[in-house]
């Protein structure tokens, strides 16, 4: 019984962590390539989840159709975001990048509140009431699907960053801007792509989580800060680090909620983040995209 209990907690945590990783990876990628902390990242995740809800509930899309549509739109939104706003920031405008993306987050979040109110919506798909039993433990099918999407995203991102020219160029720009210029990489093209992929990932996250949690305009805001903590714990700009930190945090949170109380879970990410900041501060700001 006790072993099953721990196993179930570990499984819950693993699933939760992979879900976190999905949001954190995009944030980390954008930071790595552009050195911008994107406060609006959570809003893109929220809008994607909203989109998924409306497509499945109102527009007659099947779940997978909605996932594809939402992801595609998110990638386009990323392109536009870079061309319209982020391009205008210089690399050293850390504070301005926070203010700019915070302004964007205010517009998107409160615009969503105005249009749809904070009333939560539940996305129901054909998988909503199914679950998967693995020996002594059990997990909801929608979560397993979210995990599958997370793993697919991570593997794709890995493949793109390591086995395509443009992916390598992305890592290149993050590692050494001058060298990128030397070999003829246009930083603008690469940055634009990084934002598109980053926002696209948050789109996948929104679509993957819409059936898992209730969907409402404030869902992104809360999630964003946890993603921040994960990105910082994993090492800013380090996509693989973020993924590992996300899974670790998911498991820790799950164990904490199993053995202590939910109250502990709320602050865990932030306390860990501050500890990491204090212990290894200098490795955090800077560093290229490493996967």
């Amino acid at each position: 019984m006790n072993v099953d209990f721990v196993l179930q907690l570990l499984l819950n945590g693993l699933i939760l962590g992979l879900i976190y990783a999905l949001v954190a990876m995009g944030l980390s990628l954008i930071f790595g390539v552009l050195e911008i902390v994107n406060f609006a990242h959570g809003e893109f995740y929220m809008l994607a989840a909203m989109g998924c809800y409306f497509l499945t509930a109102g527009a007659g899309f099947g779940y997978w159709g909605a996932v594809v549509a939402v992801t595609a739109v998110s990638v386009c939104v990323g392109f536009v975001l870079y061309e319209v706003l982020l391009r205008r920031l210089g690399g050293r405008d850390f504070e301005r990048s926070i203010l700019l993306t915070l302004g964007l987050s205010m517009v998107l979040q409160n615009g969503a509140l105005y249009l749809w109110t904070a009333t939560p919506r539940m996305t129901t798909t054909q998988y909503t009431y199914e679950s998967v039993v693995l020996g002594p433990v059990q997990a909801p099918l929608v979560r397993i699907l979210a995990v599958v999407l997370a793993v697919i995203s991570f593997v794709s991102l890995y493949l793109v960053l390591h086995h395509t020219r443009v992916g390598k160029a992305m890592r290149g720009v993050a590692q050494n801007r001058d060298a990128a210029l030397m070999v003829g990489i246009d930083p603008r093209v690469v940055s634009r792509l990084a934002v598109a992929v980053g926002v696209g990932l948050s789109g996948v996250a929104g679509a993957a989580l819409a059936p898992v949690y209730s969907v409402h305009p404030l869902m992104g805001f809360a999630f964003l800060f946890k993603a921040f903590a994960i990105v910082i714990i994993g090492g800013l700009g380090n996509v693989a680090g973020a993924a590992i930190a996300a899974v670790a945090l998911g498991i820790l949170e799950s164990l904490a909620s199993g053995f202590f109380s939910l109250v502990v879970v709320d602050g865990l990410a932030f306390v860990l983040m501050i500890l990491v900041l204090l212990v290894r501060p200098h490795g955090l700001f800077g560093g290229g995209v490493r996967v």
């Binding site: 902390v37 706003l85 205008r88 850390f94 504070e95 301005r96 926070i98 203010l99 700019l100 915070l102 302004g103 964007l104 987050s105 205010m106 517009v107 998107l108 979040q109 409160n110 615009g111 509140l113 105005y114 805001f221 800060f225 921040f228 903590a229 910082i232 109250v263 709320d266 602050g267 932030f270 306390v271 983040m273 501050i274 900041l277 204090l278 501060p281 200098h282 955090l284 700001f285």
Partner: protein, 320 residues
Amino acid sequence: MRRAPALATLALAIAAALPFLIGDAYIYTLGLTICVFAVLASGLNLVYGFAGLLSLAQVAFFGIGGYGTAILVVDHGWSMGPAVLVAGVLATVAGLVVAYASLRLSRHAFAIVSLVFSLLCVIVARDWVSLTRGPMGMPGLPSPTIALPGLPPWQLSGPRDFYILLLVYAVAVLLLLYRVMRCRIGRTLLAIRQNEPLAQSMGQNPLAYRLFSIGLSAWVTGMAGGIFVFHLTIVDPSIFDFYYLETMLIMVVVGGPGSFWGVLGAAVFFSAIPDLLRFSADLRLVLYGLVLIAAVLAMPGGVAGLLRRRRLRRWREARR
């Protein structure tokens, strides 16, 4: 900008005359909102505009002041005056700890850590139920009494009384901040913001100045929170709402970081106008967000920055 002090004096005279002229609670509520935001925005201006530190902990200072005062008054029977002062000191201590720990690393770390500090404050307020009453907050705060020596005790019971108190408080704080910003200390802060190594080479200690600005800012912000919750008659975790922080940031960024009058003007404008125009809260924040984006992209120095650029052009022309 030359006429700003005269304008401010006139505005102050009108503001001071209001309680004797009309009895409209709505105007008082609006007035005291302006007073509170004038303090909050000017406090942030000292930290961001002068010391160059993007402090996302201002809302935490505000909340710590509010909770601190409420707990001291309700649970420990303090009277409001000392409770507000001590709660302000509490906010200062919190600010200094956050700043000292993170400024050792970098300016960027400070921004991130101050944000996380605000988030942790929400969690403490929600989860440390025995101290803060949790999400239910502490409603029904008593009408406080202020006893000044030589005067009959003054019980603050309605918007009018809080308006008077907050007006006095805001004027005092603004005078204090004005003096700090305009004297050698303010100039040194600006110098450190513009060029930290150069200031160091001139014997200035940036950390000391930065800690001072954060401490002072936290103190006035915390005390504002302490008074404000008694006007609201309640303190709950929503005092840490990002709304306050976003509003402060708008006021400073649009008014012009580093400009006393610019930020003060923006504070009055952004507290009064949306309320008068009766936007829904959501729409107001959408508008604020757009203003923030526009200000960051189009006028990095805010309104005051535009005026400064005009002056600079005149100098450049004179040089030719």
